[in-house]
Symmetry: C2
Subunit: 360 residues, 2 copies
């Protein structure tokens, strides 16, 4: 861990940039003295914030980029007009191997589009996914895709399973991660056509992964799997719904612990445990979505987060940058790619044969 | 409220039937003395449970049905083989107007298939939806569909908006319910094609409902809308994910309040408030999905619930059965049906015209 890790930071991305970005870097630097930040942004706007953090100012590399990608920029527009933006230049730093990872709290769509163009996807991977780390009763699980793709096809969902499995090895340190496919609850209406086809392909390919089959929404936080695979539309809504429910629970808890003088006294006595609870329920602690499937490490922070949340996403980026994450995923993909293709062709041939038999 | 309300109960549906069903009826009867239960099930199996509840045994009407639909029955199979089952006979009671509502904790797919055949959908409604009541910071919201359909088309999602709006009037007593369409988070990748088309149709139809546009997963529990519309696949996963998160929060809270002797003492002092919290977070209290779009009231209880949960679903069925729910929905649907059809045709014509213009 003592080897220097270089992180390219889009200092102008997010609702409260560059203030919370710089503050977040300072926070993370305290915890990760081996990290070095390459700050891409408007020098004049960054200066007053940097002035408050001596250690960061001394170690960071400042790259002045006058342009920034607006939060509401359409991806195509950002790609065309943002070539010299802080976001684009930070991605370039990873492309040219000056940094091991790039982080941004800017527009998700713009970051994904620019990353795809500059870093390109792994051979055989059509579209990257965003993976989120999800708290469970027994630790953490990985959920993907949580929003990179609003329409995912069957082959892509199989890719997500493989990418997620490799990622769980590296990030969650699981020897043999259990991979599940998110589906609806009732026993008798088992999923839509796409989910059924993904399940069939994952089984037919006989991959060297521990595929456990269908799971339901409540199985994620129950710790039933290490990796939950779903399309970006469903995954994003599930993630946001879980965040909303956690906020609701916190709201109820505040109400319960201020409902009477006795309850308030009780809350005071239990404050140590409750502080730990607040920490665990704090969505900022789980901040940081990782783009999977690219030749380079890209971490997306929530756009509306604060310094604490941005620092948590930075910590994740530093951890990953210091691991052999990229190589492991490449190896895993290479090992299974041919199997998936063969299984896919076999399933299609079977379908054709059935159709022809039915037509006769 | 003093007028008798007749509820047809499938006493054999659910993982722990008929025990928890009978116990649940007894619980609900205490709270709703104007309710009368028509119990459909195996008389010999119900008898020992009824023997423990004098008031229920005295007021209930027992209908002996030797057959029951297995929990894992496929819908088509249940329809074919279950004509004389407790589930089918309970639905018939609503069809022939002997009961104002039917309730079952049995297989969702079987209950939906049988209900559709016996009760039929409202004119103009292609497929019924299941609506769930969702706790929010400001009260309750309605989410639909939470699992009746795994593939919903555009027209069906518009129907769900109208059905949900009418339901929110009656159940949540909102004068002008705000209706939102569940979508993904990022500003720049606004939803898949289906969601965009539903949004366009809802806007073009200029319906007499307060359609607020897109919402995200966390907007539901934040109380941003009264009705959240989504397809059954996404809705079911969102619902289960929220339940899982609530369980996780409760798990963390238990840990926090037993982490030290001081914390335990604090929990004891705050026990009044914490009990109220547990009640609010208890998923059993929100038990009961309502089938919307049928000529008759059908309530589905969780299959794995206990007597407390089944009683909560019964309370909901009794409330609805005593309201003019059915008429209100019929009126609402009639008022908007022509508008939706006209808008749909106009949008399609516009698309055709654009295509033709582009082809020239």
């Amino acid at each position: 861990m003592s080897q220097t890790v270089n992180i390219a930071v889009d200092a102008m991305g997010g609702d409260h940039a560059p203030g919370i970005v710089i503050d977040g870097c300072a926070l993370s630097l305290e915890r990760n003295p081996h990290a070095r930040f390459l700050l891409f942004g408007d020098e004049a706007k960054m200066a007053p914030h940097l002035a408050r953090h001596d250690a960061l100012a001394a170690s960071a590399e400042i790259h002045h980029t006058p342009d920034a990608v607006p939060m509401d920029a359409k991806p195509a527009q950002a790609v065309r007009q943002g070539r010299k933006s802080s976001m684009a230049m930070a991605i370039t730093a990873v492309k040219v191997k000056r940094a091991e990872a790039v982080i941004s709290a800017g527009s998700t769509g713009a970051l994904m589009a620019m990353s795809k163009i500059q870093l390109r996807t792994f051979p055989g991977v059509a579209r990257p996914a965003i993976a989120a780390i999800w708290p469970t009763v027994s630790g953490e699980a990985l959920v993907l895709d949580v929003g990179a793709n609003v329409d995912s096809d069957i082959k892509q969902l199989v890719d997500f399973a493989i990418l997620g499995e490799a990622f769980a090895h590296v990030v969650l340190h699981r020897q043999r991660p259990r991979v599940g496919l998110l589906n609806v609850g009732s026993e008798d209406v088992k999923g839509n056509e796409a989910v059924k086809a993904v399940d069939a392909l994952l089984r037919a390919a006989d991959l060297p992964i521990d595929y456990v089959g269908y799971i339901e929404g409540d199985d994620i936080s129950a710790g039933e799997v290490d990796v939950a695979v779903t399309d970006g539309f469903t995954g994003n809504i599930a993630l946001k719904t879980a965040e909303g429910t956690a906020k609701l629970a916190a709201h109820y808890l505040r109400g319960a612990l201020t409902s009477s003088p006795l309850a308030k006294l009780g809350a005071l006595l239990a404050s140590g445990g409750l502080r730990a609870l607040r920490d665990r329920m704090d969505p900022r602690k789980a901040n940081g979505g990782v783009f999977l499937g690219l030749n380079g490490l890209v971490v997306k922070s929530h756009g509306g987060t604060d310094a604490l949340g941005f620092a948590a996403a930075l910590d994740l980026a530093i951890d990953l940058a210091g691991s052999d994450f990229g190589e492991q995923i490449t190896t895993a993909l290479e090992a299974v790619h041919d199997k998936v293709t063969a299984a896919d062709e076999a399933l299609k041939a079977e379908k054709r044969a059935k159709k022809e038999a039915a037509a006769q």
